[in-house]
Amino acid sequence: MPKLIFRLLLTFFVFVGVFILIQRSVTPDSFGKYGHYRANSLDDNLMKPFYYKGEAKCTECHQDVFDQKASDLHDAVRCESCHTPKIPGTVECKVKPPIVKGTIEFCAQCHAINAGRLEKGVPQLDFKEHYEKQNCIECHNPHAPWELKEN
């Protein structure tokens, strides 16, 4: 073999070898286990903390409120639709009770008049006409909105 060709081949294989070495040392461990990605990343996504506990968890302590809610028009509304959690789901919820002030602005999120809401079965109000200054929960029980409180 001519010296020239030998040197060329040698350089070529050295380059290929170096490339393989670098590639093997920088590829993360679980890469390519399921496809062109790091399989451990699935666990990273799994391990994130959750906040919303689900209605079943709330009902464990608040069965009475749940029954009341189920008896009236807010039956399809889940607890956490209004009571947004403030702490991760693994922490005892008594630490920071998710109390809601039933202000007009809060109830208006669903019940203010909007042309896109007509005929969807959600009562809509002009809050200025209805009761301008009072909070909704002063008359309505939010868990059973058709039960009016006596003033």
Binding site: F31, K33, S41, L42, S81, T84, Q109, V122
Partner: protein, 259 residues
């Protein structure tokens, strides 16, 4: 005496340096061959038919635009509260009597959407929740140069936050505009169907809080799931079907105005 100590020190210095450099070099040379001694696990073929295939149905006829879903998503996934970062949001479409279409989504619908067009000008008005469509042929996955975004075995498009290099190619590739650059982690961020929840048997946060059940989540392979029932009952469509992304978010009541 002084010179001797100096020499000794110099010798020690060279010895330690040589040991350090040599050790590092040796390790970097050996590490790639670890795989040879212990054969690397082959690409595991998992039987996908046993796994769930997650999908979502969105009923435009039921959505009232209260924005609870967008709010819940931000709480659940620690999305920055500024009004430009959303994993899911709600748009209000208003078709005026003169044929103009007005699309608005102030703060993603959080706090409830308000109609800004006077009643007498409105021909029709409706709300459309938007989120990642979890395409089976996802353009964002094809665009990622490092394999940091991928379709999980159960059909959810996820981001590998520790591997993403933040090049934003996926954000440009997404035809639905559902990806954004997270200003805190500095990597691409998107809806994961609340992957940490659905794998624990919970519903995604947006589905959990929807007061009118306008979002239906479930397993497309389970013929008894609510989602399959929803698909059988309604004539559903996907967004931008001409792009052949084969998305897994199905809309009921989708009209031609929706982009």
């Amino acid at each position: 005496m002084g010179t001797e100590r100096k020499l000794n020190n110099r010798r020690k210095f060279f010895q330690t340096s040589a040991a350090l450099v040599g050790g590092t070099l040796l390790y970097s040379l050996i590490k790639p061959f670890e795989g040879l001694a212990q054969p690397k696990e082959e690409e595991t073929k998992i039987d996908k038919a046993d796994l769930p295939l997650w999908g979502m149905g969105v009923d435009i006829e039921k959505c009232i635009g209260c924005g609870k879903c967008a709010e819940a998503c931000k709480i659940e996934n620690n999305v920055p509260r500024e009004p430009f970062y959303f994993r899911t949001w709600v748009e209000q479409y208003t078709v005026k009597n003169n044929g103009e279409v007005k699309i608005e989504s102030p703060n993603g619908g959080i706090g409830g959407l308000k109609q800004s067009v006077p009643d007498e000008d409105i021909f029709k008005s409706f709300m459309v929740p938007k989120l990642c469509n979890h395409c089976s042929k996802a353009p964002c996955v094809q665009a990622c140069p490092v394999g940091a975004t991928y379709i999980s075995p159960d059909g959810v498009v996820l981001v590998d936050e520790s591997y993403c290099i933040g090049c934003s190619y996926c954000i440009q590739a997404c035809p639905y505009g559902v990806r954004f650059m997270n200003p805190i982690t500095k990597v691409a961020d998107k809806c994961t169907f609340c992957y940490h929840r659905i794998t624990k048997g919970l519903q995604p946060a947006c589905v959990e809080v929807c007061p009118t059940n306008a979002r239906i989540f479930g397993n497309l392979r389970d013929k008894e799931s609510d989602l399959v029932a929803f698909l059988q009952e309604n004539a559903t469509q996907v967004l931008k079907p001409h792009l052949n992304t084969h998305s897994r978010v199905f809309y009921n009541g989708l009209t031609s105005e929706v982009k």
